[in-house]
Each structure stands twice: as C-alpha cells, then as structure tokens.
C-alpha cells in the first residue's frame, strides 16, 4: 500500500528529474542537449511548483523486474489517457536521467516501446505530459545484474 509520504517522495523525485531536464513544462522543439545532459536529481523543492507530476494508474511503465544485461533493457511507456503530448522515459540512476522523449500525435497510440541502457539497478519512470499541462508518471524498479554504461 503506497503511503502518502511515499507518493510525495516519488512525486518530488520525478519533479526534480524533470526540472533538471529543463523540459517541464515547456516543449523542446530541437534536440535539447541540456535535457539529456542533466546529471543529478537537482532541487526537488524548486520543481514542486505548479503542475508537479502526479503518480497515476493511467500511465504504465513496462520493463523487466530483473534485467540480466543492462546494455539492453526493454522499456516502454504507455497511457490510456487522451490528449497526450509527450511521453518520457527516465532512468533515475543513469549518469543522465532522461533516456528518450517522444512527441506523440493523435495518429499514434500513446504506447511506445524501446530499449535502453541502465548503469545499475534503478527506478524507471514513464512520464506522460498531457495537452492541458498536467504530467503524470508511473514508476517501476528494475534490477540490473550487469551494468550497461561501463567500459
């Protein structure tokens, strides 16, 4: 049973992840180098302003419970909600948290799957940014037995 405290903590984590990516709440039109260079969780309080991301059952993050090879971890983000503008996939403990950002149109399902590298066991977040500015997230812990970011 997720407690309110836990929910708030996760919300803060995602907020700070998004804050350091510099994506929230705006949309990056060209490749946002800054967003992908974000290295740490940053200041959670700053990001907990208007429209802080909320954990939602309508957003799903798919991935294995245990990834044997961190170099290839199948991860997916999906949501059943309408009016999705963006789907983000973030790995909290990667050197750069943001893995991929998808700009979704009405012509595609808000259901994307890809493969990511993970340096170590970490929480994985799927964030859906809706057209009305709300952002919702789901999280899942993925254990990695062999990291994919080292040499």
């Amino acid at each position: 049973m997720p407690t309110r405290r836990k929910a708030l903590q996760h919300s803060a984590t995602v907020a700070s992840l998004l804050a350091v990516t510099g994506l929230f709440p705006g949309i990056a039109l060209a490749f946002n180098a800054k967003a992908f260079e974000a290295k740490n969780l940053g200041d959670a309080l700053k990001a907990l302003g208007a429209g802080a991301p909320v954990e939602s059952k309508d957003v799903t993050v798919t991935g294995p419970d245990i990834a044997e090879n961190g170099a290839v971890v199948p991860l997916g983000a999906s949501t059943t909600l309408a009016g999705v503008k963006q789907l983000l996939i973030l790995v909290e403990k990667n050197p750069n948290a943001l893995v991929a950002m998808f700009n979704v149109t009405d012509s595609v399902d808000a259901n994307i799957a890809t493969r990511a590298k993970m340096g170590q066991s970490s929480d994985v977040y799927a964030v859906a940014v809706l057209a009305d500015g709300r952002s919702l997230f789901a999280r899942k812990e993925v254990k990695v037995t062999l990291g994919g970011c080292g040499g």
């Binding site: 170099a71 750069n96 893995v99 998808f102 799957a113």
Partner: protein, 103 residues
C-alpha cells in the same frame, strides 16, 4: 549514411504496429578505450516517423538508448499498402531514412 534500418509494419485491425530496428553504435560518451581516453559520444538524437508522408511521431533520444535501437509504436488508421517512413539523425549530422509498406 548509416546502415539500413529494418522496419516492419503489420496491420492489426484498424491500426498498424510498427517495429523499427536501427543500426547505430549509440556510443554514450561515458566509456573509455584501452588507452584510457574517453570515447566521444555518438548517438541518434532525433527520430521521426511519417504515415503516407504525414508526420505521426517524433522523438529525441539521449545516449542511454541501447545500441542498435529498437522502437515500437502503433499508427492509428493505417492499413495494408500504406507507407511508413522512419528517419533518424545522429549527433554527427548523419541521417538515414527508410520506408516500409504496411502488410
């Protein structure tokens, strides 16, 4: 110009599931070579997909996307015979576009 992508687009009901396998090194810029020098980052930064010429999906990727990236998405209203094109651009300015027909 990179190696060709493998794209499979399969109609399922009124939608089409598109699976793309791109051939790319996706070097993170974190690794070091045998001499201890950092290998510079080399990865796909922008991906876009079109359905019969109409943009349906665009994405920005960081170096954390796995080597030889896989991408799956579903195009609404696509039927057999439609064209799905996918293109990518990497941080060295290299681009590649490939097209597949929905089956």
């Amino acid at each position: 110009m990179g190696d060709p992508m493998r794209i499979r687009a399969q109609a399922a009901g009124s939608n089409a599931t598109v699976r793309v396998l791109m051939a790319h090194e996706m070097e993170t810029g974190q690794r070091k070579d045998a001499a201890g020098k950092t290998i510079p980052a080399w990865h796909i930064t922008d991906v876009s997909a079109t359905h019969n010429g109409k943009p349906v999906l665009s994405a920005e990727w960081g170096p954390a996307v796995a080597k030889n990236p896989f991408l799956q998405f579903t195009v609404k209203g696509a039927k057999a015979g439609d064209k799905i094109a996918v293109s990518w651009k990497d941080n060295k300015g290299d681009t590649r576009t490939d097209e597949a027909t929905v089956t």
